[in-house]
């Protein structure tokens, strides 16, 4: 990517526009380090000089890199999307706002997770420390999915308790597996663990070994 261009134009404004177009980045990322007003030649004909600007793209922060990365992809997909940013303790949340974004969520959020994973890689490229963490969400999909997983965990735990047979869930990513484990960690009838290798690692729910665990023991474990 070119990081510095010099452009000319009839007016300073035209030259600036040409420079922005050439650099292909948002104007907020460009600094005009040199601006030369056009000069009129003799009788407006001879020896006139056009306006000239020198534009430099400043180094993007990791978050800006991710924003540009997503912006470029959405543009290529001809999707009109606004990115709303919010800080959370888990990282920076990019909430995508636009119409018909189901296509970016995909089956069980697979596309959303892929987009999020690639955005994090793009943001942190070349960094070894001070890495940023970006969470991409669409219409609160993430919290809705968490609720769904928690309800699923409860339902399946109940089934395991009734039938005594263990249940192997479909493959999930680490984040989703954690939600299932957390949802059932205080359940005194079933226990959970993960098995298999990524990306096919699955949560297994089974009856707690050693038969019944009484209520008091569970209370102790909660500390």
């Amino acid at each position: 990517m070119s990081l510095e261009v010099e452009m000319t134009g009839k007016t300073v404004d035209e030259a600036k526009q040409a420079a922005l177009k050439e650099l292909g980045v948002d104007s907020s990322l460009v600094e005009f380090v040199e601006v030369v007003e056009p000069t009129k030649g003799f009788l407006g004909l001879l020896g006139g000089k056009p306006a000239k600007v020198k534009a430099v793209v400043r180094e993007l922060s990791p978050i800006e890199k991710a924003e540009k990365f997503l912006g470029d992809i959405f543009k290529a997909m001809k999707l009109d999307i606004e990115i709303e940013k919010k800080e959370s303790e888990d990282g920076t949340i990019f909430n995508l706002i636009g119409d018909n974004l189901g296509i970016l969520i995909g089956k069980h959020g697979q596309t959303l997770d892929s987009l999020q994973y690639l955005s994090n890689l793009a943001a942190n490229r070349g960094l070894t420390d001070n890495k940023v963490r970006i969470i991409i969400d669409i219409e609160n999909y993430r919290s809705r999915r968490e609720d769904t997983l928690r309800r699923l965990a409860m339902r399946l735990a109940d089934k395991v308790r009734r039938t005594g047979e263990r249940i192997v869930l479909e493959p999930m990513n680490r984040h989703e597996r954690k939600i299932i484990h957390m949802a059932l960690q205080d359940n005194y009838r079933v226990s959970t663990y993960s098995s298999g290798d990524e990306p096919y690692r699955k949560v297994v729910i089974e009856l707690k070994r050693g038969g019944r665990r009484d209520y008091h023991e569970r209370k102790d474990r909660e500390e």
Binding site: A76, M77, Q110, T111, S114, L121, D197
Partner: protein, 76 residues
Amino acid sequence: MKEIVEIIAKSLVDNPSAVVINEKEEDNVVIYELHVATEDMGKVIGKQGRIAKALRTVVKAAATREDKKVNVEIIS
């Protein structure tokens, strides 16, 4: 579509100028052959192919929007 493969690949590698994408069609599936610098192969494949999988997922989602079948092959 090719543009999306390019945007993603160039954002991941250390050597964006070495990114080349060829397009071919086989049985109504458009295949994008992605070439990157040898030292950047890991950056587009990832551990257990995790990056390549994410790349394909996003490109396929974009293709669905245009009612096309696509795949991405990483060429060494």
